[in-house]
């Protein structure tokens, strides 16, 4: 679920405003298969000029027949970038009925619209004002953080950057504190947060935090770092037993 297979993932974009074009461009850069629906043939021509692989459907995307025509049944993702909230909500609802497994991403203009879209089954909503405001404040207060995150999110290869390691039930390190694990000393990796199994995060966990099943260790680093952490997590339990053995020997 977490990663989409790009060759088979099929995206439908409804609406070719400025945001829609931007979405299409970004998807093209990552080699997704795209289908675009819009009522305006001129706008569709502009989209076709971007890349010949894009299939376009001309018509009102609020009607089910047009949605079916665009092969929405086989699509994985739908982008609702119509100019007004009402159409976006309507489109989300009708698309969800055609294809219940669809991931819908939608534009929303305010909080109440976002709530309605969530209710209709949209996976994620983006508020233009919020996105813009966040961008500005990041640009002003922490320009490099914004660059850093953009770099990671829009990176084409995922060899380095964000690492997330899940602790499964067989991991021997369960129940130990971070201090005992000595992650930072041994691998040099800083754990910036721990994702709990219920979806919440603990930021900048202290040394007293005890690992439990289903936790996600989040950090930044290269592929080597990932392996280092994983091996440490797996061996740490052995080490404890080794110590016990040693102690037993010592006592004898």
């Amino acid at each position: 679920m977490s990663t989409l297979d790009k060759t088979t993932a099929f995206c439908v974009v409804c609406g070719t405003g400025e945001t829609g074009i931007c979405v299409v461009e970004e998807l093209l850069r990552h080699d997704f298969r795209i289908s675009v629906i819009d009522i305006d043939p001129d706008a569709l021509k502009r989209v076709e000029d971007l890349d010949s692989k894009i299939t376009t459907v001309q018509g009102n995307c609020l009607s089910d027949s047009i949605l079916r025509k665009s092969d929405l049944i086989n699509a994985r993702v739908l982008f609702c970038v119509l100019p007004d909230d009402r159409s976006n909500v309507f489109l989300s609802l009708s698309a969800k009925r055609i294809n219940p497994e669809l991931d819908i991403y939608s534009l929303a203009s305010d909080i109440s619209a976002e709530r309605k879209l969530k209710l209709v089954g949209t996976r994620k909503t983006v508020n233009q004002d919020t996105a813009e405001g966040l961008r500005i404040s990041n640009e002003m207060l922490r320009p490099n953080v914004a660059k850093f995150i953009d770099g990671i999110v829009f990176a084409r290869e995922k060899t380095e950057g964000y690492i997330s390691i899940e602790i499964d039930c067989e991991c021997p390190s369960i129940g130990r504190t971070l201090k005992k694990l000595e992650l930072q000393n041994r691998t040099g990796v800083v754990i910036i947060a721990i994702g709990k199994s219920d979806g919440s995060y603990i930021y900048s966990p202290s040394g007293d935090y005890r690992l439990s099943v289903g936790d996600n260790l989040l950090c930044f680093g290269t592929g080597d770092d990932r392996e280092a952490i994983q091996s440490l997590l797996l061996t740490s339990g052995d080490k404890k037993e080794k110590w016990k053995k040693l102690r037993r020997i010592f006592e004898k």
């Binding site: 977490s2 989409l4 993932a9 995206c11 400025e18 945001t19 829609g20 074009i21 931007c22 979405v23 970004e26 990552h30 993702v77 982008f79 970038v81 991931d103 991403y105 534009l107 996976r123 994620k124 983006v126 233009q128 004002d129 919020t130 996105a131 813009e132 405001g133 966040l134 961008r135 500005i136 404040s137 990041n138 640009e139 002003m140 207060l141 922490r142 490099n144 953080v145 850093f148 995150i149 990671i152 999110v153 829009f154 990176a155 380095e160 950057g161 964000y162 997330s164 040099g188 990796v189 800083v190 754990i191 910036i192 947060a193 995060y201 930021y203 900048s204 989040l218 950090c219 930044f220």
Partner: protein, 402 residues
């Protein structure tokens, strides 16, 4: 200058006319009543003083005699010039304000008058009351109009705000306080940075009204004046997110001309306008629809990361965020190893990456990493911890020199 401007405005207004009218009415009234009230001649006064002497000489005055003493003293007091003026002022005032007339007048003037005097007196009073009534109407109307027209209370409020703004430095100015603007402002305020908001609405936006460190100026004068009022010379940056694109351009240009060092972020309606804004002096210009589009796509590209990042950067519930600290060129900590500086233990903040000047990123810098100038430390920290980091890095120098 501005105070005199206000005074000149006051003089030219109708309220000045109203005030003179009021003065004229008062003069007419006072002089009229001075003429018509009964004057006591010198003999009468002497008589009264003599009576008073006699009454005072009595050894055991009865109650009626005591009240007589009182009334004579009062009459004597009123018969002096000042007493007469005061009395006529009082008469004028109660006449103009329609508080009372007949009873008082009868007691003091009317009953003692000649037949001839009474006629002219009646004529004068009729004339005077009508004039006075109209004058008072005029004065009242203009006074209210003055209060409403010059928005006296608002001007006072503005003056207080301006005084507060003049104390600020390193603050940010945000033009356009609705939508994205209000989001930016609350974001700044959360980090503890004072903001001057400029908007077209005469009242500050509702959600920001009582926030600490937020000052609102409405856009009712020219941009240059407004910017200098907002303390642009001492400001750190300016955000221009007004609805109209040409307006944004103009604001950006004005701000850039007034303060060259200002960091300006400006909104553009399309890609082609971004370049224009950059030409005019905006450090960063962007198109909101493209930002939103990118954000939509980012989620399917890297879902897990995005989810975390979003919470990390956007969410309002917690205090820790991904923050940055740039090592300045004169920072004493430059050239030292991370192990020696030991930020983690001193501040509690964790540094997970360093961005070098050449664009490369070093993840999880070890203890032997040598800090250089213009390195950007990426850390997960609360605003207080960020301040602590800055202090720790600066402190290194002092210890060294000691």
């Amino acid at each position: 200058m501005q105070r005199w401007h206000g005074f000149a405005y006051f003089l030219s207004s109708k309220i000045a006319v109203a005030l003179t009218l009021f003065m004229i009415v008062m003069i007419i009234g006072v002089s009229g009543f001075m003429v018509f009230t009964t004057h006591k001649s010198g003999e009468e006064k002497e008589q009264l003083t003599a009576d008073l002497q006699n009454l005072h000489n009595l050894e055991s005055p009865t109650d009626s005699q005591l009240s007589e003493i009182n009334s004579i003293e009062m009459q004597l007091d009123e018969s002096t010039f000042a007493g007469e003026v005061l009395l006529s002022c009082y008469m004028t005032a109660i006449t103009i304000t329609t508080v009372g007339f007949d009873d008082v007048v009868r007691e003091y003037a009317y009953d003692y008058m000649d037949e001839k005097w009474r006629r002219s007196y009646n004529l004068w009073v009729t004339f005077f009351v009508i004039i006075a009534y109209m004058a008072i109407l005029y004065v009242n109307a203009n006074f209210v109009a003055y209060l409403v027209g010059t928005r006296l209370a608002e001007n006072m409020k503005r003056r207080v705000i301006l005084r507060n703004i003049s104390r600020l430095s390193n603050h940010y100015i945000v033009c356009g306080c609705t939508g994205a603007g209000s989001f930016v402002i609350s974001e700044f305020l959360r980090t503890g940075i004072p903001v001057v908001g400029i908007g077209s609405d005469p009242n500050p936006p509702h959600n920001l009204r009582k926030r600490n460190g937020f000052f609102y100026l409405s856009r009712d004068r020219s941009d240059d004046v407004l910017f200098s009022e907002a303390g642009i010379m001492k400001a750190n940056g300016l955000v221009s997110v007004v609805q109209d694109d040409s307006d944004n351009l103009y604001l950006t240009l004005t701000a850039h001309l007034m303060n060259n060092n200002l960091k300006i972020v400006s909104r553009a309606a399309g890609k082609e306008n971004e370049e224009k804004l950059a030409l005019v002096g905006a450090d960063v210009s962007f198109t909101p629809s493209i930002t939103a589009g990118k954000k939509l796509v980012a989620d399917i590209l890297n879902r897990e990361t995005m989810d975390f990042m979003e919470k990390m950067v956007d969410s309002t519930g917690h205090n820790c965020r991904i923050e940055e600290y740039t090592v300045e060129s004169d920072c004493p900590a430059a050239g030292k190893t991370m192990g020696k500086i030991n930020l983690g233990r001193k501040t509690g903040a964790k540094i997970f990456a360093i961005m070098k000047q050449n664009g490369s990123t070093i993840y999880n810098p070890g203890a032997d990493y040598v800090l250089e100038q213009a390195d950007v430390l990426l850390t997960i920290a609360s605003p207080e911890q960020l301040k602590l980091i800055a202090r720790t890095l600066q402190r290194h120098k002092r210890r060294k020199t000691q």
